[in-house]
Point group: C2
């Protein structure tokens, strides 16, 4: 039996713009997804995910036939990452063994906290370890990104990178590679995550921005560049420990995301409630269209958390997780 | 007795960016300010503004001494435009006669609808007419802008230009001159104005953007350019009658203003309420920090108006006013 875990993430800066080559800054949070692999004597893949959905889901993969004993669509979509990751390991490394796989998570599914990437990366780690493959982190990250691309059509490398490496990283797509730089942040970064259910999928929000960019290139391109500039400046602020600037830049980034049309009334309600309660900066995080916001708080954790709850959202408290993917 | 009137305005696109040389698009609304001038036989200036404030205000200007029989600060600030306009006419044209001046307005004072500019321009028109000066519109606009600059320290030429010319104009500052182009808009432009009391003054919001620009030039300069691009594209959309695009561009412009830090929770509440009720675009208008939003509505006037009221605001319905300053 092998258990691997990988952290979820929040995007501090640069979501959406990263799709067009700008840098983004992503932080691993200390909430994790876990994948347990027990090899079988046959060639069946059996996935049990008791925490991911309310109803038990049993998925079987045998003779290339993928069958799910559940009608819960969101669970099926999470589980397809597991199946695809194993399929790619078989394809890229010629290794395939049947296994019982159990998955659980400390994060809500579909909130934009990178649960599917964390599950993907933990699956690759646990399954490769159990089958005797010795994959380094770079290979795990590349395979994870490939998994997300094949499941979703397109994907940013952010979530799979951060689930692999932990900490705070700057991610920038470079041709078909991922340029990753680890930031040295000399302090804690206490954040409150507020979340509501998503109204739209990531794919839809990315498509919405693309349409807007095609229609209004002269306007949207400078907005995307400005987001890139926010990320570059934020990196300096983070590495020099200037949290007040980090907060101001979060607020600017939120407005630019609003200009790209990816915010919602509920996200704005959370952002403004957090700021009013004393957060030094707040923004939507991830693809938008519902989902999560992050609020940077130095002292007023309790009041910021209550303020976010008061507009009908749930909250998680977190900080930087220095641990990437690991064997438990 | 001479009565002149001038329209209020809403900024459709480009507020704040116009301070830094970008074009803005401003629309005269069919709500007006009125100024009545009755020449006196002495050299006293007596101003009565029954509608501007609840309490009657009597202001006297005699031997260069300006005295107000009211403690209402906002009324005094409106009235200082009248006094300054008359002072500048005396200075620039050598014309001075005592007068009783009565002022009233169909717009709320201090909401950002250009009431002070409308009063200034109507004052210049009525007073110059009464004293036999024959000022053309360009001279009135220049004198009005000078009046606002001297009262406020700095001022954009937008409000005084639109109060002079009416219609929809593109305004762009050019050295010390005002470049004004009239737009040919082939349709009606029905808007709902939502307004709440201002939390901050225009001056404070302009200063806030300037500080942000000084601190984060690499980020704020592209945002200001992007707002300029929104105005340029919106001009094309307006002149070609594409209201759907006008609405989309309003939404983008709102986000960019949010990024400049000039929106508030109440403004966002109004904007999102209007969009949800069927407005095809909505944005804050003017300096922000409270004040007004505009929502472009094709058919759902009633539901958009109700939705804006439901978040605690008041509303005005309007359309383009083709009439600039005129003698009633």
């Amino acid at each position: 039996m092998v258990i691997a875990s990988a952290p979820g993430k929040v995007t501090l800066f640069g979501e959406h713009a990263v799709v067009y080559g700008e840098p983004a800054i992503v932080m691993a949070i200390n909430k994790r997804a876990y994948v347990e692999v027990n090899l079988r004597n046959d060639s069946k893949i059996r996935v049990i995910a008791p925490d991911i959905v309310i109803k038990g889901v049993v998925l079987t993969f045998d003779q290339n036939i993928f069958s799910v004993e559940s009608e819960v669509a969101s669970a099926r979509s999470e589980l397809s990452y597991i199946v695809k990751a194993i399929e790619l390991i078989a394809k890229n490394y010629g290794v395939f063994k049947g296994a019982d796989i159990r998955v659980w998570s400390e994060m809500p599914v579909g909130a934009g906290l990178g649960t599917s990437a964390a599950i993907t990366i933990a699956t690759i780690k646990a399954y490769s370890e159990a089958t005797g493959l010795d994959l380094d982190k770079k290979s795990i990250a590349v395979l994870g990104w490939q998994t997300e691309r094949e499941v979703q059509g397109t994907a940013s490398p952010m979530d799979t990178s951060i689930a692999t490496y932990g900490g705070i990283i700057q991610v920038q797509p470079l041709n078909n590679d991922i340029n990753i730089e680890r930031l040295k942040v000399p302090m804690k970064l206490p954040i409150i995550i507020g979340y509501v259910s998503r109204e739209y999928k990531t794919k839809d929000m990315v498509a919405k921005v693309r349409l807007l960019k095609e229609k209004y290139g002269n306007i949207i391109n400078p907005i995307i560049s400005a987001i890139g500039q926010v990320s570059r400046k934020a990196r300096i602020s983070l590495e020099s420990g200037d949290l007040k600037e980090v907060g101001e830049l979060m607020n600017i980034n939120h407005g630019l995301l609003e200009a790209l049309g990816v915010s919602t009334k509920q996200l704005n309600d959370m952002v403004y409630a957090a700021r009013k309660a004393g957060a030094i900066g707040a923004k939507l995080t991830g693809a938008g269209g519902g989902g999560c916001i992050i609020a940077l708080t130095l002292e007023k954790h309790e009041s910021v958390s209550l303020a976010i709850k008061s507009v009908g959202a749930q909250t998680l408290e977190s900080d930087i997780s220095e641990k990437g993917v690991l064997i438990e």
